[in-house]
Symmetry: C2
Amino acid sequence: MALLETNKYSQGSVLGSVNPDLASERQTASFSVEKLMVLLDGGVERTRIRRAVVEAIESDPEFSRENEYFQSQNERYEAAVRKAVHLRKKMQEMGWTEDGPEYTYIYRALSGEIAFLLHRVFMRSITVLGSKKQIAKWIPLAVQYQLIGSYAQTELGHGTYLQGLETTAVFDVATQEFILNTPKISAMKWWPGDMGRTATHTMVFAQLYIHGKCYGVHPFIVQIRSLQDHSLCPGITAGDIGPKMNFEHTDNGYLMLQNVHVPRENMLNKFCEVQPDGTYVRQGSKKINYFTMTTVRISLISDQVLIPLMKACTIAIRYSVVRRQSKLKPGEEEAKILDYQTQQEKLLPQLAAAYAFHFINNYLQNLFDRGYRDIQKKNFDTLPELHAFSSGFKAMVTQYSTSAVEICLRACGGHGYSLLSGLPSLYTKILASCIYEGENTILLLQTARFLIKCFTAASTGQPVPPSVTYLAAVKPGNCPAKSKLDFLSPDTYTEAYQHMAARLVSSTAAKLQDLIQSGAKKHDAWNQCTVQLAQAAKAHCHYITVKNFAETVEKLETQAGIQKIIKHLCDLFALHGIFSNAGLFLHDGYISGAQMDMVTASYLDLLAVIRKDAVPLVDAFDFTDKSLNSALGSYDGQVYQRLYEWAQKSPTNKMSPAYERYLKPLLHNKLSKL
Amino acid sequence: MALLETNKYSQGSVLGSVNPDLASERQTASFSVEKLMVLLDGGVERTRIRRAVVEAIESDPEFSRENEYFQSQNERYEAAVRKAVHLRKKMQEMGWTEDGPEYTYIYRALSGEIAFLLHRVFMRSITVLGSKKQIAKWIPLAVQYQLIGSYAQTELGHGTYLQGLETTAVFDVATQEFILNTPKISAMKWWPGDMGRTATHTMVFAQLYIHGKCYGVHPFIVQIRSLQDHSLCPGITAGDIGPKMNFEHTDNGYLMLQNVHVPRENMLNKFCEVQPDGTYVRQGSKKINYFTMTTVRISLISDQVLIPLMKACTIAIRYSVVRRQSKLKPGEEEAKILDYQTQQEKLLPQLAAAYAFHFINNYLQNLFDRGYRDIQKKNFDTLPELHAFSSGFKAMVTQYSTSAVEICLRACGGHGYSLLSGLPSLYTKILASCIYEGENTILLLQTARFLIKCFTAASTGQPVPPSVTYLAAVKPGNCPAKSKLDFLSPDTYTEAYQHMAARLVSSTAAKLQDLIQSGAKKHDAWNQCTVQLAQAAKAHCHYITVKNFAETVEKLETQAGIQKIIKHLCDLFALHGIFSNAGLFLHDGYISGAQMDMVTASYLDLLAVIRKDAVPLVDAFDFTDKSLNSALGSYDGQVYQRLYEWAQKSPTNKMSPAYERYLKPLLHNKLSKL
């Protein structure tokens, strides 16, 4: 019967021809997908370059990700090294440079499955913290891969609290060397990427001791493996830290140092130097270094957070118009699951968030570019604000987006749980972004510290940075909305967010003040407020995101076709936030219960509106099938066919020794012979 | 220097001697850990049996999980089959039976890493749905493993909506056989456990056709592999569906049927039979079958949800008193991270939830035992309530617990992300519980349907089941609490939950009514209310959980030492819920903003109180180190030592071919020869 047809079917004749349930979604787009795509890319030329890079990478079989979901950690690592080496050739061949416009798209095109990323961090740290002489010596070697670098900061016992690092570097005046040691197990370097099996050198962060006095943490260039045969250098113990939730392609490593000598010149010394006699000299400003840390947090949002989030939305939304399950109306055919309000309520707010975060990312990039120009002019005034921005937004965006990807995964039911859907690996990868480059809670508290400081300053009439002037203007008043339509006014909801954020900051500042006045020590009082402080910091970032989204919509006036749909997304993002955090808005009566019902009504209405454009809205992200690497999310929507074809390639479909060893004796009653 | 000591250190001399930071936590317990443990187990005798089973399993090297985190999917599968076969011998040896008191602890002791679980479902479905003759024929074969069964219900295209299954079974009067087919790709069976590589037989659910008429879905026993050589039977295409987020030990399979003939006797026919002439006869009540489905949902809570949640709490809390990071007070040593309010606020509510769900699980088990006795007496009155309970609680508890495990994982920072922490596999496993045995949103809507029905009945004075009588008594009124201490009264918060749940049900019922009265079709109106309906169902279950927890505390009067700490946990669970869902309580002013501040104050105070007993509270779960299988969570707290020792065993520390192939030519400038 039909099986034979099915098997013919599986020869690939159907793949590529678009599932009618998906095709129909594209015919009714209320806007031009191409125009929106160009807007997201930032111009026609960038769209062209992005596509050219993706095409060049994806058409090269060396960069194939075809069997990624079947690979072991060892295989993933080997593939990443192979790709990294091949990329050097590819770049020469294509004429791409590290400064060129193509460069930013390479990582996206490779979906991050590549080695030597820490080699670049190694180089950057030399460029920023090294003297001209050090740069002249090491950078050419690194550029030519005469060595492979990594970056050994984190230890088993210390991540966020860098001052607590325990590795030591003792200066020996006699030999003019630093002697590096791992004095106890918790001091072992742990997690550095590219270090477990690859790097020949690493940047070791250690407590500097001179004549018995500690001068704090400094970076030292240390060779760990032979350039000849890759064997470990004397005094070095190093290896791979083993299996992780993801990043199997990276050899995160461990490192123990036993009396490892490095010459005095190996301490990066642009800002502080140890002179031959052991005199410690600090020179120049360290603020630029501080700035580097903050830019990393902002730069990760685009590659590590936005792209996985957009991919997850693409996969889940396409699947949700192909999957039909149960009936909405008796007697009709089964409904697309995206037609259920509950499915819309899962996915569409995540889609709106992807757009919200894309626009806030643009905003932050601009802010940091301006900040960088200021700093080059030796103007450091904006640094505290930039630091607060980078910490808070890194935390807020990674946390929100991680939840969003998880919602997408769960919204695809059983098939979302299969690695072949692509969703599990997106989730396990984005989850790490909540942890690396600063643990999110710590980061939120840094933003909170800035907000409390600004609030206090503003209260006493002192000037504060532009992004927080609103804290000075906490008015009592209530939300003026009188109908559900009033909540589609950006002014209405932006003011609600502003009021809410300002209230959280001011009430937490008041609590802090009260505690101190009633005799609590400052640090105890602070600790007792941290849950609320973190909440206030998140609220501040949420407010800025909504405000920026609304301003972005306004600027789209000239693009009428696109402005309308982006306005819907902005409304949805804002109202979803009020609906999901209702308590924060109801608390002081700024929004009343009756108004919250209006918010809910408008919010639910919007779901049905945006649902119509859901597929075009993810099509505009313009991910190729190869980059999604998902049986559920491909452009043609041939979900079941692809799941079946991919599953057949799984190594679990090779004959297992379990039959001969265990099943056969069991079934043949020969258990006693086992 | 110290490195040599470190290496001596790593010979295991330290493992087993308890880290002083963990030891000190145990010296100040406010209650007897042993007594609490016995309470959780349900009596001294059960504690004894549990420990004996765990000891017998864990001391047997055949059941070792030592290298689990390093194993491929194929290796995990082989180990699971080996263990399942070995378990048969072990049970004989130990004198354990499937009805004995030991049986429930075996799965726990094996942490679920075992094959043939679906074989048991295969047997249960025959026992429940099969005639006496069928039971007599098949059950002895299954018990003796003359065959291995599985359970093929879910298809590529259909999971939750069983009526939509597309596999067909056509009765052929001439041959007295059913002819089974997979008419299209979406009809392929997909996901059944034990079916990909193991089973010889499976229970196929297919649409029954007789003389061209469809009689709906029925179960058929189908042989899929030869009992002689395990080759696929004629007309059968089957295999493994490939990699998943977890459950690598299980061979979830696919199955296509092409004109597969089975005799008439292979349709399970206790409740419906096809007679030789093709007459279809339905006999007896199908309600008992309906009951079976609901019990499965309740029974999974204990093994699949509570245990992972309790393990995650154990790991994260032990780690949080061993991990020191940054300083709370300037000049002091670094603080245990559990001393930070934000860390307490992450972990302690999850610990309270683990206790809350343990007690609600007991309550549900009792309810279902009583229900079962009623049903045996042919009294089906409680079925709708039991069904609503099982659906709602399965959804609420799995969802809450999955989030809780994720919070535990993230709260351990980078080390939580390592598989060696044990947390990633707990998370990826518990996540599946949100999807299998009924997708959670669908389940919540089933509970909501029951609640709306009861609310409507109650409004018109009709009798309703005891658990929902509160819906009839929605009083306006406000919360009477006047100070933060008032919120430590179980009556106060239980009433707040009751009020909130009743409000959500009644307001959603009103919206539904309004929509229908203003002309919406019933199914459209329902769909437009589903987001709020799901919320109402969750609120109902949350209320019942809080109420049951408070009642449990009351019953502990005789155990003063334990009652106090359990009361704290109950308060914390309840106040955390109000704090985190503030909007639901503030909405109609039942709780005012000022009262919410009291809730927050009491909630934060409780964190500091429970923190003191946090380690004893997880010790009471009594997981062995082997069962936790976590470098972070072991009883001795030698976290860093264990991470290092385990990492060294990783297969990623074997020489990689990547060096010779890619790194060496790169470093030696021989790239062009590649």
